[in-house]
């Protein structure tokens, strides 16, 4: 008996030595850069801690900068060799920045990593020319946010998932009176809404073709809503300009186009009930673009294998559950989307129905390397059409002439 005890003790000691030997592998410190502010720190730190819990030799340190600064800093950090190991990337900016990221396909293949657990539109959104550069943590289509109280007050039926642009226009006009608007147009609406109406801003070669009749007509519909029907205020081109979302939150506009990423913060900051509907469609079938963000590995990282291990945890089921329950992100992981619907967004009318309808009708978001320029030009030039200084066709031709 005593002998067996001794033997057991010896065996225990042996395993202890062995395990310390295995723990003695090199400690790796990874940096993780992303946008956000101070109040996001605890949430993302808890994700970083998940990595250390799974791989004790890996420590991940998040670094934050504001959204706008992030995109100015990213190329500067990359070209001066100070980029972090893990890098946040948004699907719409992938064509400009994929060069700073390491292709993930070899890691995914070596690891038998299952990409089908993610929503397919965002998996393709975070790839470039068929190569995966980042794994998503959130996804979302552009949606119509509406003020349920105002709809009820005006006696208008709340929008159904397959409502048409004419329904939308009628509601916007009916909800407009004096200084209160039915809708507040924003620059990005001229991307998301024409797509929902079946128009294309690109030609078949993925180059800008803004003067094609379909796109011009779709833009014209929105412009008329502002310039003729006066159902929306004109937006100004300035950086600090009051946004449509700001007007919506202030109760000054009854509808605005935004995404699930800001749905919960909007509901929390307003004194009325927010509802969501898909973007209105034309006579034809609906189609919606989605966007989302994820994290990739910097091409300059010295610890790519460890970074992929960390990436798997950061975009894993547990992390998705944390971000979803906190309302920070509608997960790119399909199975964990329920935490967002059931916990974070349980009080938002139509959230699950609208989002699932939109995902079912999602279409690839076509982008190219001049996308940033295009968005900036829309913001800069569209006010001319919206306040009637120039025609829609002339404004689109002007923007087109400045794009490659």
């Amino acid at each position: 008996m005593k002998f067996t005890h001794q033997l057991a003790a010896l065996a225990l000691a042996g395993t202890a030595i062995l395990s310390t030997a295995s723990f003695a592998q090199e400690q790796v410190n990874l940096t993780w850069q992303m946008w956000g502010d101070e109040k996001d720190t605890p949430l993302f730190q808890s994700l970083a801690d998940l990595v250390t819990a799974e791989y004790p030799n890996i420590k991940v340190t998040p670094q934050f900068s504001g959204w706008t600064d992030y995109w100015t800093r990213l190329p500067v950090l990359a070209s001066s060799g100070q980029i972090a190991d893990l890098v946040a990337m948004q699907s719409m900016r992938m064509p400009s920045f994929y060069g700073v990221l390491e292709p993930l396909d070899p890691f995914i293949a070596a690891d038998n990593f299952d990409k089908s657990a993610f929503e397919s539109s965002i998996i393709s959104g975070l790839s470039q020319d068929g190569v995966q550069y980042a794994l998503p943590y959130d996804v979302g289509p552009w949606l119509m946010f509406y003020n349920r109280d105002k709809f009820a007050e005006a006696g208008i039926a709340e929008p159904k998932p397959d409502w048409t642009f004419d329904d939308f226009k009628a509601a916007a006009e009916k909800l407009t009176s004096g200084d209160n608007y039915g809708y507040a147009v924003q620059a990005f609406d001229f991307v998301a809404q024409p797509i929902a109406l079946g128009a294309e801003y690109f030609n078949d070669g993925n180059q800008f073709d803004l003067t094609n009749p379909g796109y011009a007509a779709a833009v014209g519909k929105l412009v008329d809503l502002v310039a003729v029907a006066k159902a929306s205020p004109v937006f100004a081109s300035g950086a600090g300009a009051q946004t449509g979302s700001g007007r919506f939150a202030a109760g000054n506009a009854a509808m605005v186009i935004d995404g699930p990423w800001s749905l919960l913060t909007t509901q929390a900051s307003v004194g009325f009930k927010v509802g969501v509907a898909p973007l209105p469609r034309d006579e034809g079938p609906s189609r919606y673009i989605t966007a989302g963000s994820g994290w990739g590995i910097s091409a300059a990282s010295q610890h790519k294998d460890e970074a992929f291990k960390a990436l798997k945890v950061l975009t894993g089921p547990k992390a998705a559950e944390i971000l979803a329950s906190a309302g920070r992100a509608l997960p790119g992981r399909l199975a964990e989307q329920k935490f967002w619907y059931d916990v974070a967004a349980k009080d938002i009318a139509g959230a699950r129905e609208t989002l699932q309808y939109s995902f079912d009708h999602s279409t690839p978001f076509r982008l190219n390397e001049s996308w940033n320029e295009f968005e900036n030009l829309l913001t800069q030039y569209l006010p001319l059409a919206l306040n009637g200084d120039n025609t829609t066709d002339a404004v689109l031709a002007d923007i087109q002439s400045q794009l490659p």
Binding site: A78, G99, V234, G240, Q242, T379, L386, S401
Partner: protein, 311 residues
């Protein structure tokens, strides 16, 4: 002081040769004292200027390696870019209107303050305040005032004046930028000119008064010529800063609506940091540099006609 004089006396006493040697030694000492700021100037001024000139001949996109493209950026700028001439025209329009208004208003304010019996100091401080307020903060506050549905629109509506929103109107947007620039920067010239006016010897003015010169004559024929060197300095400096205008435009209009307020400074930012065409942005920067040099040289040439130096 005495020590320096003593050594100066001591070194000047012996023959020429040793003096030259000690002069060289002093030069070397001076060189070491100057070295820290010289290094600073080289690292942070000369090197970046040379680098930007070199960059303007490349197609550097901030990410990746730059490739030499010769004069292609400049050719594109002057012949192919649909925006360049508008941007240049906007910059010159802003500079001329802003410069004229700035000088008139600041000379007016300076003369008014100089005529006050009491409270001169207070008014100087009040008008100088915007100068040490951060430009971006000033622009954001004004942007909120001028925004569609903002305070300015409210006032115009209350007064039943049919003034359209400034920031979304093609012709008025630049005027909004000029109003903000004037508000923020007139104080500096006011204080500068006010100090110059105070230096005008009162005896000249009294003599003119006794000879029967009116207040109008005394201003145009005595005070203004006597402060003309300061006026010249103020004009040159204001012209240079207004050719570089950026902050107000970045915050208030982002060059819009359309290209109504796109200036050279904003175009450099837009091409460089939004579209990541660093090479092209550098070539615009060099055009701006050449423009500023040329206009400043012109002003120095013109000053012979209107600036009076005492000696």
């Amino acid at each position: 002081m005495t020590l320096i004089q003593d050594t100066a006396v001591a070194t000047s006493a012996p023959a020429a040769r040793p003096r030259r040697r000690s002069g060289r030694r002093e030069g070397r000492t001076a060189f070491f004292f100057l070295l820290p700021s010289l290094l600073g100037v080289l690292l942070f001024l000369v090197l970046p200027i040379i680098a930007s000139l070199a960059l303007s001949f490349t197609n550097w996109k901030l990410l990746g390696k730059p490739a030499f493209v010769g004069f292609q950026n400049y050719i594109r700028l002057f012949t192919a870019d649909p925006q360049f001439w508008t941007v240049l025209r906007n910059t010159l329009f802003f500079t001329v209107e802003y410069l004229v208004l700035n000088i008139i208003i600041s000379v007016g304010l300076a003369t008014w303050i100089a005529s006050l019996k009491r409270g001169q100091r207070w008014f100087r401080v009040v008008f100088f305040l915007p100068t040490f307020t951060p430009g971006i903060a000033v622009a954001i506050v004004w942007m909120l005032i001028f925004a569609p549905g903002g305070f300015f629109d409210f006032i115009m509506k209350s007064l039943s004046l049919g003034v359209p929103n400034l920031l979304t109107d093609q012709t008025l947007a630049m005027q909004a930028v000029i109003i903000v620039s004037l508000w923020a920067n007139v104080g500096y010239n006011t204080v500068l000119f006010n100090a110059a006016l105070d230096m005008v010897p009162p005896s000249y003015l009294e003599a003119a008064k006794i000879d029967g010169a009116s207040a109008w004559d005394r201003f145009w024929k005595i005070r203004l010529p006597l402060i003309s060197p300061t006026l010249f300095f103020g004009t040159v400096m204001t012209a240079i800063t207004s050719l570089q205008v950026f902050d107000q435009i970045y915050v208030m209009t982002r060059g819009g609506p359309g290209n109504a307020t796109a200036t050279l400074g904003y175009a450099i930012y837009q091409r460089g940091f939004q579209n990541f065409q660093m090479g092209y942005a550098s070539s615009i920067a060099w055009v701006m540099f050449a423009l500023i040099m040329a206009l400043t040289a012109l002003q120095f040439w013109l000053q012979r006609k209107w600036v009076h130096y005492d000696n």
